[in-house]
Each structure stands twice: as C-alpha cells, then as structure tokens.
C-alpha cells in the first residue's frame, strides 16, 4: 500500500529532510498555538493577522539594505516592523475615538500595501536574488531547507521556554491586568515581552504558511482548546498539541499527495481539530449544550404535567381522565402522550384506559414543584414588594431551577410560611 509506505518512510526518518521538515513544522505550529492562546484570551485574536501582514515591509527593507537573502536579517526586519505595527495599533487606539477593528484593518492593509510597494520596487530593480521574498507572502513549509528548519525550531523552542518561565505573569496579564499590577507584577514589561514573542512566532510562521494563513496558526488552536477546558494550563497544552499534530500531518499530506500545498493543509487539519473540539467539548461544546437544553426541556415538561395532574386530582388523591389534561391546551395530544408515557416509565404515575393516577413518588415530586412555586411568590411579594397578581409568571419559570439548598434557604428566610400570596396552602413534605 502506497499510503502505508509513505507513513513508514515518514516515521522511520529514512527520508531525513522530510522528517526534519515535518518535526520543524510541528514545533513551529506548537509555538504558535501556545502564543496564540494568550492573544485569544486577551481578546486580540486578530492582532496575529495584523502582525503577519505587517512583517512584509520589514523583510523588504532588510533585503534592500543588505542585498542578501539571509533568514536572520529577514527575521530582524520582520520583528521590527511587526512590533511597530502593534505599537501603532495601541497608540492610535489610546489616542483617538476609532474602534479597534478599524485600526486593525487600516494598519494591516497599509503595512501590507507598503510591503507590496517595496517588493515591486525590488522586482523592477532587476535584482535576481529577489525571487526568494515571495515565500513571505505565501509560505513554503515543504521546501524549507534544513538550516531554515533549524533556525525556526530554535526560535520556537526559545519561545516556548520563555512562556513557561513567565507563565504565571502572562496568565495574570491575560485575565486581569490591574490585579497583576496590584500584586507587584511588571505589567508593561510582560505585555511588551508577550508582544515580542508573538511577533517572533509570526515572523517565522509566515515563512512556512504565508501571510493570510498565519492568523489561523495563532487563533484556531486556541479557539478549539477553549472548548475543552477552563484551565489555562490545559488550554495551552491542547492548543500546542493541536498545532503540533496539524503541523506534522500537513507536511505529511503535502508529501504524499502530488502538488499539494503544505500551509493550507496545515490550516485545514487544524480547523478540523478545532471544529471537532467546538462540537464535542464536554461542557461548552455545541452538542453538550444541546443535550443540556434538551434535558432541561424534558424536566420542565415533566414537572409541569405532574403539577397539573396534582391540582386537577384534588391534591393527587383521585384518578383523573387524560382528556381533562388535554382540555387545558398546554400541550398537543401527541406531546402530552409522550410526556405521560415517560412519566409512567419513571414510576411517577399509572395510566389505565384513559385514566391517570399519581404514584407516591409522583405526588412528592408535584408537591415539591408547587412548594417551590409558592415559596418564590412569597419571596417576591415580601422582598420586592411585587403585587400578588404579578408574581405568578416569574414563579412559573423559577420553580424548575430552584435547588434543594436554595429551597431550604427560602424556607428559613421566610420563616416557614403556611400560605402563599394567593391564600393557597404550602405543601410541605
């Protein structure tokens, strides 16, 4: 099988260049994922887009000044113009009434425009060494030389080390600058240092995946990781892992398919990881929230129907006809039937030929809902001075969400009342 052949070649490190490029791109994407987590948490996700567009003039000027294609000079130029762009964004934001998004869009397009001006100038000047500058536009992960990979990996590793060293400070700055300042952190230093690390990461990442897609390497891993955990340390690990795997897989796909570009594949794989995380995340995931909502819906329907039966059947003592429930027109016939069947299965009631009777369990559950409803009505009229005829609707919703602990507190606060504002008795256990 060709596919397995590719895989064994890849992992046996037989093809040394491929192996190095794969691991190098993995490390690079790992570093972007980690750095991007902080920009994400500071709600500055799109700053990555700005930096990746704004490294271009720096690179072009570095080439114009030195006349050689040296990755170190390019890196210095890229870092200087990236930092300048961040500084301009911050400065204009502080000094004018313009909103951040307009400043971001303007800065990135002007810097990139200037970069294009300089690039076309270099091209038209007939310097034949210029062809290599294109990689800053579109990236060339697959054709990185081993020296490039070594340089990039070293920077990525230094980046990761710096982040680990300043982890606590960066965490605090991302969540609460003022608190960080209050407990003695040098917030300005931390922010500038983080900016420097971000620019460095972007400056090397751009050469792998290009200007447009670089933003994805910063934003996408963090966006996915956020759905998997609430802990920042875990989030950093997930984001780094997503980045690393996508970096390696992207290089692998472009190696095994003919004419497949590496950068875009890295981004596609990364996006798949992130979309999976967004769907499947345990608490915040889309599916988990749908399930929770459905669960709540079921609970509310169950409780409402039990409550109605209890009231219609003289405090749950008598047997009632199912048709009476239907006459209330709260539920359609088919829905009501489903709810009743579910309740019967859970032993809350028994159904016999169109008649219903509550079980002990059903009676207790119904009394609980009614108790919570009435307690809340008393609470509202006593503490919020609401009129008796205004408290019902509010209680109708809240009765389903009051926990036993809150109920106890309410009873204590209201001194175990006997009747509600509508003179109905409160059913205690």
């Amino acid at each position: 099988m060709e596919f397995w052949g590719h895989i064994t070649t890849f992992f046996s490190a037989e093809n040394y260049t491929l192996f190095v490029v794969g691991i190098g791109s993995g490390v690079l994407c790992f570093a972007s994922g980690v750095v991007g987590t902080f920009t994400y948490l500071r709600k500055r996700a799109l700053i990555g887009d700005v930096i990746s567009h704004s490294v271009l003039p720096g690179v072009a000027i570095a080439f114009m000044l030195t006349g050689v294609k040296n990755p170190v000079y390019f890196l210095i130029g890229a870092v200087i113009s990236g930092l300048l762009a961040i500084w301009i964004v911050d400065y204009v934001q502080a000094k004018s009434k313009l909103k951040p998004d307009a400043i971001l869009a303007l800065t990135l397009s002007v810097f990139f425009g200037l970069g294009i001006v300089l690039l076309t100038k270099i091209q038209h000047s007939g310097n034949d060494a210029q062809s290599g500058l294109d990689i800053f536009l579109f990236g060339k992960a697959a054709s990185m030389s081993i020296t490039d990979v070594q340089l990039f990996s070293i920077i990525a590793v230094i980046n990761i080390a710096c982040i680990l060293f300043f982890l606590r400070g960066f965490n605090l700055v991302s969540f609460d600058e003022n608190y960080a300042r209050g407990i003695g952190f040098n917030v300005n230093f931390l922010k500038s240092f983080l900016a420097l690390l971000t620019v460095l990461t972007v400056a090397i990442g751009v050469q792998a995946v290009g200007v447009v897609l670089m933003a994805a390497l910063l934003i996408t891993p963090a966006a996915g990781a956020r759905f998997l955990t609430n802990s920042i340390t875990r989030m950093l690990m997930y984001a780094g892992l997503f980045g690393f795997l996508s970096g390696v897989i992207g290089v692998f796909i472009s190696y095994s398919g003919t004419g497949m570009p590496t950068g875009p594949w890295i981004v596609v794989v990364l996006s798949l990881f992130t979309i999976a995380a967004i769907m499947l995340g345990k608490q915040r995931g889309v599916l988990a929230r749908l399930k929770l909502r459905k669960g709540n819906h079921i609970k509310i329907n169950n409780e409402n129907v039990l409550k109605d039966i209890y009231k219609l059947a003289d405090d749950g003592q008598k047997t009632i006809e199912t048709s009476i429930l239907l006459q209330q027109e709260k539920y359609a016939a088919s829905e009501l039937k489903a709810i009743l069947n579910r309740l019967e299965k859970q032993d809350y009631l028994d159904q016999v030929r169109g008649f219903i009777i509550l079980s002990d369990r059903g009676r207790i559950a119904a009394r609980e809902v009614i108790r919570k409803h009435r307690l809340w009505e008393i609470y509202l009229s006593k503490y919020f001075q609401m009129q008796e005829d205004h408290v019902h609707d509010d209680a109708e919703g809240i009765e389903h969400v009051i926990t036993p602990e809150i109920e106890k507190l309410l009873i204590k606060l209201l001194e175990r009342p006997e009747i509600d504002p509508h003179q109905s008795e409160i059913p205690y256990e």
């Binding site: 313009l98 869009a105 579109f138 966006a223 004419g259 497949m260």
Partner: protein, 286 residues
C-alpha cells in the same frame, strides 16, 4: 487614457467601499469585510471549474456564494458555538482561503487565477478589458460592473439611510421601536459582500480592506456628522486613488500597494493634525 481608466476604476471601488465602510466602522465590523474579501477564493475556483471560464459573471456568482458562506460561518461560530467574535472571523476566513488554495493547486494549475490575484488584483491591466458601451464610450469591463454597483449602492444607502442609521447608532432603541434590526443587518452585509466581491477582481483584497477602513476612519476623525462623514470618505478615497496612482507611476511600483500606502500617509497626517488641534483646544479651554 490608461491613467484615466485606472483612476476611474480605483475611485469607483473607493466610493463603494467608503459607503459600506462608513457603516462598518461605526458598527465595529470592518474585519468582516476583511474576512469576506479573503474567503471568496474557493467560490471563485468552484465557479471557474464548473463554468470552465474566467468570465466575470460566473466568477462573481461563485465569489458571492462563498462570501455569504463566510458570513454564515462567522454567525454560526459566534451565535451557536459562542466563540468570541474576533476568533470566529479568524477561524472562518483562513479555513475558506486554505480550501481555496488547495483546490487551485490541485485542479487549477492552468487557470488564470491564483492567490496573488486575490491579494493584489490586476488594476495595472485594467485597460486590457476595454469594451464599447454606448454612444462611442469605451470602458473596461470591470469598471462598468463597478459603476453599476456604485449606482446601486448609492441608491440603496439613500433609500435605506434611516434604517441603516438608526440600527447602526442605537440598535437597542431601534429594536424597542420595532425597526427590523436583522433586516438592516443583512441589507448592509449584502452590500458589503457585493462591494468586496466586485472590487477584489480589479484591485485585490488588500486595497479593498484599505478602502473599507481608511477613508471612513479619516473622515470620522474630521467630522461628527455622519452624512458629511460618508461624503468626505468618498472624496478622501478618490483623492487617495489619484495620489496613489501617480505615486506608483513615479516610483514604478504596484498601484494597489501605492494607494494603500497613500491612504496610510493621509491617515497619519490627519491623525497627527487632529491630535495637535485637540491638544491646542484643550490648552485654551483649561
């Protein structure tokens, strides 16, 4: 005559973008324009692949389709998945752009479309597309489309000014008085998609973003009156097109790049000018 065609084309893009950008910067949504202008790539390719030509109409349809897809993706990520909005924008358009490049490099090697063209456009070659219109007037094809869109947008903004204005500046009030906020949102987003889609072919994504954000931002620094701001933004856009074009000719560099840079320069001058003026006023009033 080439000068005239290029400047006319750039100015039309500038007017379209200024009208839409004016609303976008007040709604804090400029980066959505950025996202749409990049996300058009896969749609363009699919349209090219199906129709087998780089004719304008199918390409525009494809671009419009993926522009809409991008806005829907962003909406889904923010509303349904509750991703923060800046990240939703970043994730959506990079994915679409990546898919576009993969499609092109797999099946579109011979096509006359690539990511370069999406990024900088081909305004230098605009006069290759000359065609007679009427009464002996000859205009480039893209310029005619841009002109039509400009007329449409000016009409739409005049017709819907009240609704757009109220939903931009006081959405809560608009909602409480029964104005269809969602309708005006999609009204504007359709205009933005149309603008970015018809503009990128001639000037490229970067200049579209520069025109969407720059002239309205400059005008916003100069006036408080929103109507004046829109008109001023159009004028600034035209001025930058002229200035940028001649700068590009003089320096022998990319026109789209030079116009973006020119916008940046004008912004810098106005920004410094208004800051100095404001400081003087502050000094006098204290």
């Amino acid at each position: 005559m080439n000068d005239f065609y290029t400047i006319l084309t750039a100015s039309l893009v500038a007017i379209n973008c200024a009208l839409m950008g004016g609303f976008l910067i007040m709604r804090k949504m400029v980066m959505i324009g950025d996202a749409i202008s990049h996300a058009v790539l896969p749609g363009i390719f699919v349209a090219y692949y199906i129709s087998g030509s780089t004719a304008s109409l199918p390409i525009l349809a494809g671009a419009a389709f993926s522009g809409i897809l991008a806005t829907l993706m962003i909406e889904w990520f923010t509303k349904k998945a509750r991703l923060q909005s800046d990240a939703a924008i970043g994730v959506s358009y990079t994915l679409l752009f990546a898919i576009g490049i993969i499609l092109i490099s797999k099946w579109g090697q011979n096509a006359d479309l690539d990511q370069q063209c999406v990024l900088y456009g081909e305004i230098e070659q605009i006069s290759f597309w000359l065609q007679p219109i009427a009464f002996g007037i000859v205009l480039p094809k893209q310029t005619v489309i841009l002109l039509a869109v400009a007329v449409l947008l000016i009409g739409a903004v005049i017709w819907g000014y009240k609704g757009l204005f109220i939903t931009t500046f006081d959405p809560d009030f608009a909602l409480s008085t029964g104005v269809a906020v969602t309708f005006w949102h999609y009204f504007l987003m359709s205009g933005v998609s149309l603008t970015t889609v018809v503009s990128f072919e001639s000037v490229g994504a970067i200049l579209v973003i520069a025109f969407l954000s720059g002239p309205p931002a400059i005008a916003y620094l100069l006036t408080e009156d929103f109507k004046k701001m829109l008109i001023l933004a159009c004028l600034v856009g035209i001025l930058c097109s002229i200035g940028g074009y001649y700068a590009a000719k003089w320096l022998d560099v990319s026109v789209a790049g030079a116009i973006s840079t020119f916008i940046g320069l004008v912004f810098m001058i106005v920004f410094i000018g208004t800051s100095v003026l404001k400081r003087k006023v502050d000094v006098i009033s204290t």
